[in-house]
């Protein structure tokens, strides 16, 4: 294709081709400092192409295609090209990833051990991971956690953090503007702005971690804590995984080992400050 970006995020290499220069320029700017795919051979190809041939010029409209395609995916406006590239990469992972058990979860690391956070969209797992990433933790990823079925380790997948609506303002203060992508307003998910993880998250992206704690955060409620039983954790994680069924027995074993190995806890929080202190407290209790 005419325009092309190649980036590696953790163990996964991507090639993103585009019929327009804009999406690729935005992607390269946002992923400044990321490595290229191993052996220069990407795991997945994403194509951003006109939905119909004339849509390259007339009311340009981006169809998200690639190695794996969702036929019903709706096209995006050219102004949202960066989002299209991000969705394209997500789609390849969700539909095509078979090396790792893919959990829809954010993850941060400290002392070689990982904290996983999962929950429904809007529960705050992404924002919470981003906050912790600026407060001494290493951000491993805000979207997908990659569990290696062979070792049980979680691999980092530190894509740009997708901040939505109010979360944009929460994060914008105190961070350099250069780490932010453009403000994308009026997307199907509201206003979105991407944030590049800090330098350490990128420099150490090849270091996996041992899962140590699983949280189910929920934003917008009075502070509360609840233990979650293994059966509930298991079922909730099957729902949070995009490839649990496709992996068959190895997916089942990976998930069972994870659930048996680490404690899990549901936390409600009214604001970010209380969330951070709650997380620190629970983390400290792990060793207690």
């Amino acid at each position: 294709m005419k325009h092309e970006a190649r980036i590696r995020v953790g163990p996964i290499g991507f090639r993103v081709g585009s019929a327009w220069p804009g999406p690729v320029a935005a992607l390269n700017a946002l992923y400044d400092g990321y490595p290229t795919p191993r052996d220069d051979i990407p795991d997945f190809t994403v194509r951003l192409e006109p939905e119909r041939p004339w849509r390259r010029w007339v009311r340009p409209s981006i169809a998200i295609r690639g190695d794996y395609v969702l036929p019903e995916a709706s096209p995006l406006a050219l102004a949202h090209g960066l989002l299209a590239a991000e969705l394209g990469m997500n789609l390849q992972m969700a539909l095509g990833q078979r090396r790792y058990l893919l959990l829809h979860a954010s993850s941060v690391e400290r002392d070689g051990r990982a904290l996983l956070m999962t929950g429904e969209s809007g529960a705050g797992k992404s924002t919470l991971a981003a906050l912790l990433g600026e407060r001494g933790w290493r951000l491993m990823g805000d979207e997908f956690a990659l569990i290696d079925p062979a070792t049980g380790l979680v691999w980092a997948f530190p894509r740009a953090i997708s901040l939505k609506n109010q979360a944009i303002d929460v994060m914008a203060s105190g961070l350099p503007q250069a780490r932010f992508g453009p403000v994308l307003s009026g997307t199907p998910k509201g206003t979105i702005r991407h944030l590049r993880p800090d330098a350490r998250a990128i420099a150490e992206m090849d270091a996996p971690a041992r899962p140590a704690l699983l949280l189910f955060p929920r934003y917008g409620f009075a502070e509360a804590l609840r233990g979650v039983g293994a059966a509930e954790v298991f079922v909730r994680l099957t729902q949070a995984s995009t490839n649990y069924v496709a992996l068959g027995e190895s997916g089942f074993n990976a998930l069972r080992n994870l659930v048996e190995a680490i404690p899990a806890c549901a936390i409600d929080y009214p604001d970010t400050a209380s969330a951070v202190s709650l997380v620190e407290r629970l983390w400290a209790e792990l060793d207690g």
Partner: protein
């Protein structure tokens, strides 16, 4: 310009990958995925030294195909249990048949829907038994439903409520409106029982069905994969005494001699498949067009040669139904899509 020739060379002769650079590998992986041949490629290249990044991609593809086969075989078993009380022959078709019989064609092959062939007279019973066992209709649209029942060689697709897997129940291998009229009773009579009680087509009929599917029915979408099936099947069957003459007989009996001959010629041209020259027949002018259509894909996995693809698409409908019926069908479809 890279095209699917890269893929078919690597499949036919794995040593052709020696000397590929990163751009070639990138294209090869994208094309193999687009043609649903990444699993087959992964098995063909299993013993060869490839770059680490490629080795990881191919290992994933092998695992993925193995899991897909486990699922497909289980789905076949579920259908067997649902239909066993009817006491009718149930013949597995395509991917599930290859996997159930342990044929080389199944290695790394993706398997989507479960395809079975049953006697036409038993269709109502089969439909009832599947509905009772948890399968449901996919298409609720009355036009589509009626279209299938009146003009197609299969029931409207059913999907299993809990397992989310589709089953296509065939009563013959081509739509009744198509010009060739295969003999489904002969397909069933010649079929071979597996230890499970499920059946598969005889070797010659398997080739005939695959060729019918490739040329007399579809628009060549997925054609390289179908042709790879034919290559693998022929290489496995050719050693049996009398296979080629049986193939010629069955092709003629099912009125599919031209499709089978063309399948053989194209397999030979694309995958260097050893074929019987008499059954393959003399080369035809159109063979080159078919070959070009089958290889029309670029290094990004995109379809190329849009005009040629469209011509084959129109042809597929032309083959499937008489002109007046085609006009009526396309008119109805166009009005509904607005």
């Amino acid at each position: 310009m890279r095209n699917a020739a890269l893929l078919v060379r690597a499949l036919a002769d794995p040593s052709a990958i020696i000397g590929l650079d990163a751009a070639d590998w990138t294209a090869l992986v994208a094309i193999a995925r687009a043609e649903s041949l990444i699993g087959s490629l992964a098995w063909r290249l299993e013993a060869l030294a490839v770059p680490d990044a490629v080795a990881a991609i191919l290992a994933d593809a092998r695992r993925s195909a193995a899991q897909a086969q486990t699922q497909a075989l289980w789905e076949g078993e579920m259908a067997r249990r649902a239909l066993a009380p009817l006491g009718i022959p149930v013949v597995l078709l395509k991917g599930t048949a290859y996997a159930a019989a342990g044929l080389e064609a199944a290695r790394g092959r993706t398997i989507g829907d479960l395809d079975i062939l049953v006697p036409r007279g038993a269709l109502d019973q089969v439909e009832g038994a599947l509905l009772a066992a948890g399968w449901e209709w996919v298409k609720e649209d009355p036009y589509d439903d009626l279209y299938y029942r009146r003009w197609m060689h299969e029931l409207p697709p059913l999907i299993h409520r809990a397992r989310d897997r589709m089953i296509d129940v065939h009563h013959t291998i081509l739509p009744p409106t198509a010009r060739p009229t295969p003999d489904p009773a002969a397909l069933i009579a010649g079929s071979v029982a597996l230890p499970t009680g499920l059946r598969i087509l005889s070797p010659a009929d398997m080739i005939v069905h695959s060729a019918a599917h490739l040329f007399a029915d579809g628009d060549l979408a997925g054609g390289l994969r179908n042709l790879w099936d034919i290559d693998r099947l022929l290489r496995g069957f050719a050693a049996a005494p009398g296979f080629w003459s049986a193939l010629a007989d069955r092709a003629a009996h099912h009125q599919l001699q031209p499709a089978v001959a063309r399948a053989l010629r194209l397999a030979r041209a694309i995958y260097a498949t050893p074929v019987d020259a008499d059954v393959a027949g003399p080369p035809r002018m159109a063979d080159a067009l078919y070959r070009r259509r089958l290889l029309a894909r670029d290094g990004w996995g995109r379809e190329r040669d849009k005009a040629l693809r469209f011509a084959f698409y129109v042809r597929s409908h032309w083959l499937r139904m008489p002109p007046a019926m085609l006009a009526r069908h396309l008119w109805t479809k166009a009005r509904k899509s607005r």
